[in-house]
């Protein structure tokens, strides 16, 4: 059993390699295809002569063949060298390092939020099938699947910030006069908790609620649907009927037998959920001026600063491939019938 799982994991990792390679090729082509000669953009001083531009070209390796440039690119990636941002003047890696924790904190929180909302409600609506709860859930999922996160976020801002005044100003991670705790993990809430500053902890959490809810809204619908469908299939199955016939308590049947099996389709839909979340992250960070890699990359993109964009696309795609892989392996580990794709 264990041996089989390990072999599957190794096989799946192997299968992911050509995809990762493809992703690297695509991002390489991307930067080649972007409008504008990087050397000219880089050397955009008024007294730059053609020789200076050529010198920069040589320094950047742009005078070499495409194949050599690709090898150079591979080498750079291997050394985590993503070039410099023209806007901040810093290495892209440094910029990302400063902003990634903010993105991760928000994304993890939003993901947890969508699970906490979607899974119990999905189970509930499966247990009370065709009741008014189920009907209501169906309407909510249909609408939320059509709701862009940025629009939902603006509705939240209007209701909770403008009308009720209970939400903090929807800008950034902390208000201007609050002092950020010393960076340990980069997660504002955890860092605040580490030094026992509960006021900052509450503020950071409060600032995160509206953007996280806006990011979660799109993920809630597929998760809820899958949870409901999985639970209904599980409840209708023979092993549950057998368990009922044995007189096993209902609670135990639900939690120990039905729920784990119902989780499988939920796991299968996780790839799509992650994809939408990684996309929503860009729009939501932009809307709430969240200092993460999403808003940073959009600003770079509209500012014709391409090195960060290339790095962002590469990092997000690699993350996505790895997470899909993890979901796949997890599914295989839970369900012996699950066949690994490939």
């Amino acid at each position: 059993m264990k041996h089989r799982t390990l072999r599957l994991i190794a096989w799946r990792l192997l299968m992911a390699l050509p995809i990762l390679f493809g992703v690297i090729v695509v991002t390489f082509v991307l930067i080649r295809a972007l409008p504008g000669d990087p050397a000219i953009v880089y050397a955009s001083g008024p007294n730059m002569s053609q020789e200076d531009i050529d010198a920069i070209r040589r320094a950047m390796g742009l005078d070499k063949s495409v194949f050599e440039q690709f090898l150079l690119y591979l080498n750079n990636i291997a050394h985590l060298n993503f070039g410099n941002s023209l806007v901040t003047g810093q290495p892209v890696l440094k910029d990302f390092g400063e902003r990634l924790p903010a993105t991760l904190e928000l994304a993890v929180f939003a993901f947890a939020l969508s699970l906490v909302v979607a899974l119990p409600v999905g189970v509930l609506s499966a247990l009370y099938r065709d009741s008014w709860i189920d009907q209501l859930v169906r309407v909510i999922t249909s609408v939320s699947a059509a709701m862009p996160g940025f629009f939902f976020g603006l509705i939240l801002i209007f209701i909770f910030y403008f009308l009720m005044g209970v939400a903090p100003e929807p800008i950034g991670r902390l208000s201007g006069w609050s002092i950020a705790p010393p960076t340990v993990t980069g997660f504002m809430t955890i860092d605040a908790a580490l030094i026992g500053d509960w006021e900052i902890f509450r503020e950071a959490l409060g600032k995160m609620l509206m953007p996280a809810a806006s990011m979660a809204i799109f993920a809630v619908a597929p998760l809820m649907r899958m949870m409901r469908g999985g639970m209904i299939d599980a409840l209708d199955s023979d092993y549950i009927k057998a368990a009922r016939a044995y007189g096993i308590p209902r609670r135990k049947i639900l939690l120990q037998y039905a729920l784990p099996n119902a989780m499988l389709p939920v796991l299968a839909t996780m790839g799509m959920v992650l994809s939408t979340m990684l996309g929503a992250n860009i729009m939501i960070e932009k809307l709430f001026a969240w200092p993460g890699i999403g808003s940073y990359s959009v600003n770079a993109l509209t500012g014709v600063d391409y090195a960060p964009v290339q790095a962002f696309v590469l990092i997000v795609a690699v993350l996505f491939v790895l997470m899909t892989l993890a979901i796949d392996i997890l599914s295989a580990a839970i369900d012996p019938r699950y066949k690994l794709k490939g």
Partner: protein, 279 residues
């Protein structure tokens, strides 16, 4: 039990019919909207800045005094045109390549399938964003980018259909009758894979509208002052903090309504096309 199932399908069909009717209405607005709106969607008026909805301005006015109702209606054309063009391109390209790949198999199938796998390795919106950057910041780029990110769905659909039907009797009969591979694909395989394609088209039209407005929201593709739902929401964003809700609410409502109806229609069509997959 039987009664409740029957009731459910009736309700589902009602929902599908209503969704279809709203979509027809929206398409009519897309065609005739610019002719019937009460105001010029680009005309600014400094005397009428940020007015709440009233008898003169049903949806109020924005920060430049432009009539939001006119802008929301006129925007339908652009959003729908982008979505229809993008989905048409991706469906035609995806189905042709997918059907050929699935029918012929072999190394060609291997190569195209791997390429599509790589395409699917990028989160949809991130891919759209990067592609618009590559093609240049324009409406054509949004169309192209949207059709590229939707291509894999049609490719996979047509590929599986063609591969699973390759061995089926009528295909063999057609081949024996002297039809070429090409004519088998286009005359016999494609028409049979139409129902799932139509379902996919309906769902994709909704997604295409969502990603177009999302791109516009972050400043890509459609540019101001063009009336477009995503741009209008973006322009109204700061107004939500000072309470002028109508600047965002009405374009957002139009956006949600169209996406909602397309997905409702898609679900309804799926029930009709494939009764086994009723959800």
């Amino acid at each position: 039990m039987a009664r409740s199932v029957a009731l459910y399908h009736l309700r589902r069909n009602t929902a599908t019919s209503v969704a279809a009717a709203v979509i027809v209405l929206l398409f009519l607005l897309a065609i005739f909207g610019p002719l019937i709106v009460p105001y010029d969607p680009l005309a600014t008026s400094m005397q009428e800045v940020l007015q709440p909805p009233s008898a003169e301005h049903w949806f109020g006015t924005d920060q430049l005094g432009r009539d939001i109702f006119s802008r929301v209606v006129v925007a339908t054309r652009l959003d729908f045109a982008i979505a229809v063009a993008a989905v048409a391109i991706s469906a035609l390209a995806g189905i042709s390549v997918g059907a050929m790949s699935g029918y012929l198999g072999g190394w060609l199938d291997g190569v195209t399938s791997r390429i599509v796998d790589v395409m699917m390795a990028f989160p949809l919106f991130v891919a759209a964003m990067a592609l618009v950057a590559v093609f240049g910041n324009s409406v054509q780029s949004v169309v192209l980018a949207t059709s590229i990110i939707n291509f894999p769905f049609y490719f996979r659909l047509a590929r599986i259909e063609a591969a699973s039907r390759r061995e089926i009797g009528y295909v063999e009969a057609a081949l024996i009758n002297g039809n070429s591979s090409g004519s088998v694909i286009f005359r016999f395989l494609l028409p049979n894979s139409l129902p799932p394609v139509i379902v996919q088209v309906s769902l994709n039209l909704g997604w295409a509208i969502l990603s177009t407005s999302g791109l516009a929201f972050i400043g890509l593709g459609v540019a101001p002052p063009t009336p477009e739902w995503g741009i209008m929401i973006q322009e109204g964003a700061s107004m939500m903090m000072s309470g002028e809700w109508w600047t965002v609410f009405f374009p957002g409502l139009a956006l949600v309504l169209s996406v909602f109806c397309f997905s409702l229609l898609g679900d309804g069509l799926r029930d009709i096309a494939d009764p086994r997959r009723r959800s």
